[in-house]
């Protein structure tokens, strides 16, 4: 998170922080372990009242940001979600809300957005696909244009919050282009199979679309021309995932620093051992660096900067690697208690581990960075040739 927030952002962050501490304290997350939704019924609605679902929606659609940069506002919520290992499909539902507000027809917006904004209706994004099409950004589900509509077939997994969602935003392929469809969860041909997840409260499912017939009005934007909308959705999803991962690192580090001062062995605090001090120094660097790249990426996405993807990939590659090392080292420094279910550390480790694989793994984002560097080198040599 930025070192300095605008006054209104500070207040906004405080409201969500207080709400999560009161209504979803970390200790109570364990009670939600077997709950099908992962949170109590009115939790999401009350969160929506605090602005969790409205930030990427335009003012004319009933939404609006807190500051001049609504994505930064939402990243603050994501960060607090990380610090509390909070329940709820924050990224996927905001992606749908934002995509609808940006590209939906008046009918689509008025049918879905009011419920989403009020937290009474849930919607989620169906992007990723199961093996062997599970590489980041791969889309093979087919949206075939028919005379009177569209026929959708394919499998999407993991889909977050699928069991609670009334609407799916499905990214599918139409020839060379991408198509996005709004699919009611109860449409004929849609089947949902819950998956297990490493996180205690975040729920995922595989959703199967067997020749699902949809009217033209189900298409968000135009058939075969959703590429840039999907790219925006991906940027937002990666940015929010990053901010959340940094929140989990921040809280785990804070707990472990406190532990190092409070825990004595051989008559002195753990914090007095140079071996541990040096590891804390490394962790502090990883943490500050993760804050910096996450904030930089969020700003770049918000401003539509040309280097946004590079910063997002750098963030996902760096935090996915060093964030997990930080969490595992926090476990190590806690000793035996750190690997028990009763201790909170695993809640953060779970959340961060999940985040490191959603929306592109460390390896996938490193490959993207290398490919983009190669393209830059090509460009330079082309420039040299022209000279």
């Amino acid at each position: 998170m930025e070192l300095q927030l605008a006054a209104e952002q500070e207040m906004f962050a405080g409201t969500t922080r207080k709400f999560l501490a009161q209504h979803m304290p970390v200790a109570e997350l364990r009670a939600m372990r077997h709950d099908p939704a992962g949170f109590p019924p009115d939790y999401w609605r009350r969160g929506a009242e605090l602005g969790w679902t409205s930030l990427l929606v335009s003012e004319e659609d009933g939404g609006g940001g807190i500051s001049a940069s609504p994505l930064s506002d939402l990243a603050i919520v994501a960060y607090e979600f990380g610090r509390h290992a909070a329940a709820g499909p924050l990224a996927s539902s905001n992606v749908v809300a934002g995509a609808l507000s940006r590209g939906g027809s008046p009918e689509q917006r008025s049918a879905i957005l009011p419920g989403l904004l009020a937290g009474q209706l849930m919607a989620t994004w169906c992007l990723a696909e199961p093996r062997p099409d599970d590489a980041f950004g791969t889309v093979t589900a087919q949206a075939a244009a028919l005379a009177d509509g569209v026929c959708l077939s394919g499998v999407k997994a993991p889909v977050e919050g699928a069991a609670q969602a009334a609407q799916f935003l499905v990214t599918a392929r139409s020839g060379d282009g991408l198509t996005q469809l709004l699919v009611p969860a109860d449409a004929p041909g849609v089947t949902m199979t819950p998956m297990r997840s490493i996180d205690l409260t975040r729920r995922f499912a595989a959703v199967r679309f067997d020749d699902v017939r949809l009217p033209r009005s189900a298409v968000l934007g135009e058939v075969g021309r959703a590429g840039s909308a999907v790219d925006w959705q991906l940027r937002v999803a990666v940015a929010l995932t990053l901010a959340e991962m940094v929140g989990t690192m921040d809280r785990a580090f804070e707990m472990t620093v406190q532990w190092a001062f409070d825990r004595y062995s051989f008559g002195r605090p753990l914090a007095s051992y140079q071996e541990l001090k040096h590891r804390f120094a490394d962790m502090k660097l990883w943490l500050e660096a993760s804050h910096a790249i996450s904030d930089g990426a969020v700003r770049a996405v918000a401003e539509g900067a040309p280097n946004a993807w590079e910063l997002l990939s750098a963030g996902k590659a760096y935090v996915g690697c060093h964030g997990i090392e930080l969490l595992q080292d926090c476990v190590q420094i806690h000793g035996g208690i750190g690997v028990t279910f009763d201790h909170d550390m695993h809640l953060y480790l779970r959340r961060l581990t999940l985040g490191s694989r959603l929306y592109g793994s460390v390896a996938e984002h490193r490959e993207r960075l290398t490919a983009s560097l190669e393209a830059q080198v090509e460009e330079e040599s082309a420039d040299d040739d022209r000279r």
Binding site: A271, H278, F280, L369
Partner: protein
Amino acid sequence: MTTVADDAHPELEDVASFRARAQAWIRENLKPVDQHPGEVAEFRTDQAELAEVARQRAVQRLLFDAGFAGIVVPRKYGGAGLTPAHARVFNEEIVGYDYPYMIQVANFSPSMAVILEFGTEEQKLQHVPAILSGDELFATFLSEPSGGSDAAGARTTAVRDGDEWVLNGSKIWSSFAWWRDWGLCLTRTNWDVEKHRGLTVFMVPIRWPGVELHRIEMANGPGHFCQEFFTDVHIPDANRIGAVDGGWSVGVRWMFYERSRESSPYITWWATGGGMAGMLGQGDLVRLARRSGRIHDPMARDLIGEVRADALVAEQTATRIVQGIRTGDLNDQAAALIRLQRGVNSTRQASVAFELAAGAAVTWDEADEILGQQGLEFLTRQSSQIGGGTTEMARNVISERVLGMPRERAGDKDIAYRDVPKGPAAGR
């Protein structure tokens, strides 16, 4: 746009018009370059290096004459009398242009910065304009053979003799001192008080009776480091910076500037994309992997992506930390995080380059010289975690001064420096 004007800044130029003026001047007078000139890692002959230094002094003179040297330095000392914001703008505008990068570090900061902060009026009037015009180049004489990280443990001794001081001892790891003119030197002037209380700083002319300079050959070949030996070197008291025995308060600021490196407002450096000398440019790993035939190897690509991520993250981190220190959200000591990150990233990059160069990193023919260089660079991979204070010191600073963890036990507190245990290696 109206600007704040006061007695000190009767006509402080606003940043936007300064930017326009700097941009126009830079385009008119400096040579455009593809990558940061310091990134072209090459071994020059001494003759070529001296010619390059002479050229950079001349470019510095151009900057000085145009009023772009010492942007934050008061006008009466030859500077432009502007603010750090102006200096940042200049660093942004100079990206993509050649400039005297070899005479920045050590010379303008810490040396000139320290003279400005602690020097007498006479000293400032004599040396600061000379430094800004490229006539005087300073090196820093801080570390000693008896210990690098423990700078306050200096044993080079200065003894008062009337209006002069007599120096004896040795300094080491002074970069490029062989072609510089002066050294800012931390000495011990009192052995009978606690370590930090008996130090004094002097300006020492390098070509001076009793000063003997050796160049240090590094494990991978010639380098820029020097060692100086002082034998009964007579220095006038007028060359003393700060109070007698008050050298540590100078030293603390000296090391602050040293850690700030190109973030210091006294240093002109590309605001983006300008790695320190010896660092590879961003596309170089791709070029290396192409050269060695490994560019399609997924493991090689993973390593390149890892280093690229580290570099992008480091840029964002430095911005966050420098800003945080400026606004007071982070304490000054957080600069050690930047030092640690640079050191760690640079060793990792050297390892990756070594890996990408494959077999040619250890045996190569003439055509593969660039790959062989990666093997040689690998030999001194740890330099970036040693020079300028080791990363172990940085980790101590971060854990103790940033996180507030207990200090390490010290054997040199509350006793005269003379009585501090110095171990069997002392005197070597």
